[in-house]
């Protein structure tokens, strides 16, 4: 484990009874002492949960060509952003498949901030650096200096407000503000990965422990990776390495809504257009078991008795039961009786809409 990284909050995690596991190159808590179910409940049922997601990467893009550059390397239409707005987007390669999914923060016309996945950080930064050579921009990896906390749940705003001079009420969904948090400069966005109201908080490492402790003192419950995955799966949010990867394009992954083919040229555009015209090779669907069982990643999905694909994320939802995201053959996306093979048995499932449980984000 010696080559794994620790976040500035490693010691507090251990002190809170965190069960530490390797994740995306970091040592992170999969759960704390009371277990993942209680953590999940804290976020869903009216409290607030605090997550150390420092493993995620941050990249600052600055320069007169910042907009032109981001229009070329990301799939969404960056020109639609106003200052202080966040956008879900993706980086594709020339084959039209995913390098990563990201969020783009517009600070000003010539300054943007990208939040990227930990496991893809070095690949993303190398890609952005290489592509930036043709533009008047600088690309700066700020990941190592930045702590990222997520505070999610109904009580998030009340818990966070006393720590910052930013008026949180004025931050709308997928908007952000820069200001002071515990006296240091930081960014707060009304974003998250849980389907609850809440914030993501970017602060310098130096104040990580102080802010973490202050939020615990305000009643926030620490949340590990297991509950985080439950919360995101219930929303049907894609996770890199599961629903999206360098094997699928936005056409398969139901992410054409962040892929704007009419905005001008971008990396992967022509490949996506071709795939769209030719038809998806498989399609992502949401399934709910109608019999007892828990679907898990890689379990086989059958339609009318024929093997059609596999589960990419599956879980036991305390509210919705056995739920799964799965890829199936395009002809099976809407037609045919679905079952999931669990230890040799075919367990019946039905297609369902997303999210699996009600979202409470403050839109």
């Amino acid at each position: 484990m010696s080559d794994l990284l620790k976040t500035p909050l490693f010691d507090p995690h251990v002190a809170l009874g965190g069960k530490i596991v390797p994740f995306a190159g970091y040592e992170l808590p999969v759960q704390y002492k009371n277990g993942a179910l209680k953590e999940y409940t804290a976020v869903r049922d009216g409290a607030a949960g605090i997550f150390d997601i420092t493993h995620m990467g941050q990249v600052r893009v600055q320069g007169v060509d910042a907009l032109k550059f981001l229009q070329y390397v990301t799939t969404n239409d960056v020109s639609k952003l106003v200052d202080g707005q966040v956008q879900y987007s993706a980086l594709l390669n020339e084959k039209g498949t995913f390098i990563d999914d990201i969020t783009t923060y517009k600070i000003s016309d010539d300054a943007y901030y990208l939040c990227i996945n930990a496991a893809n950080r070095h690949k993303d930064v190398a890609h952005l650096m290489a592509e930036s050579k043709n533009f008047d921009v600088t690309v700066q990896d700020e990941s190592d200096a930045t702590t990222l906390l997520a505070l999610q749940g109904e009580k998030a705003q009340a818990a966070l407000q006393s720590l910052t001079d930013i008026d949180l009420e004025s931050i709308g969904y997928y908007k952000f503000s820069q200001g002071h948090i515990a006296g240091a400069s930081g960014i707060i966005s009304r974003t998250g990965y849980t389907g609850e109201d809440g914030f993501e908080i970017y602060i310098p490492n130096e104040i990580a422990i102080e802010v973490w402790q202050a939020l615990l003192d305000k009643g926030a419950v620490p949340i590990g990776l297991a509950a985080r995955d439950m919360l995101r799966t219930e929303m049907g949010y894609a996770l890199y390495g599961h629903e999206i990867s360098d094997k699928v394009t936005p056409v398969e992954a139901k992410l054409m809504w962040i892929t704007k083919l009419d905005k001008g040229d971008f990396i992967g555009k022509s490949a996506v257009e071709t795939r769209k015209a030719d038809g998806a090779k498989k399609r992502l669907i949401a399934l709910k078991l109608t019999q007892r069982g828990i679907p898990r990643e890689h379990y086989k999905v059958f339609v009318d008795g024929v093997e059609s694909g596999e589960v990419t994320s599956g879980m036991h939802s305390p509210m919705a039961g056995g739920v799964a995201l799965a890829y199936v053959k395009p002809e099976h996306a809407t037609e045919g009786d679905v079952s999931i093979e669990i230890r040799g048995n075919h367990v019946a499932a039905k297609r369902t809409g997303l999210p699996f449980v009600r979202s409470n984000v403050k839109k």
Partner: protein, 124 residues
């Protein structure tokens, strides 16, 4: 960590309670703690015969699927159906309401550990 004295234990952290030729199986406090929140238990069919060391049930926690192994050989005569609705009993009462199955023993329990031996095993 609770290790009742009237039970026998395996290295896979199962326990067995022997009363005449009936044996009750479950998983130890250590096992439930290591597994985390249990959200599903797959019970065996009544009438099935199992050999000592054979997987007879499955417990699923939030993140993991784990086989549960028979401490002794025998025929399944009863299963704890309450676990279908309340699998968390394996966490809260591993030696009581969290029992998994009962078998009519066909083998013996000579190979199993006593509570003291299991405690030493856990410390090693």
């Amino acid at each position: 960590m609770s290790i009742p004295a009237n039970l026998k234990y395996t290295k896979e952290h199962e326990w067995v309670r022997i009363e005449g030729d009936t044996a009750t199986f479950g998983v130890s406090d250590h096992a439930q703690e290591a597994l985390g929140d249990i959200v599903f238990v797959e019970l065996p069919e009544i009438g099935r015969t199992v050999d000592a060391g054979e997987a007879y049930a499955v417990v699923e926690s939030i993140k993991a699927v784990s086989d549960v192994y028979a401490p002794v050989s025998g025929e399944i005569i009863e299963v704890n159906e309450a676990l279908e609705a309340a699998p968390e009993k394996v966490n809260t009462e591993p030696y009581g309401a969290g029992w998994i199955t009962k078998v009519k023993m066909s083998g013996n329990a000579d190979e199993l550990m006593s509570d003291d031996e299991y405690n030493t095993f856990l410390e090693e």
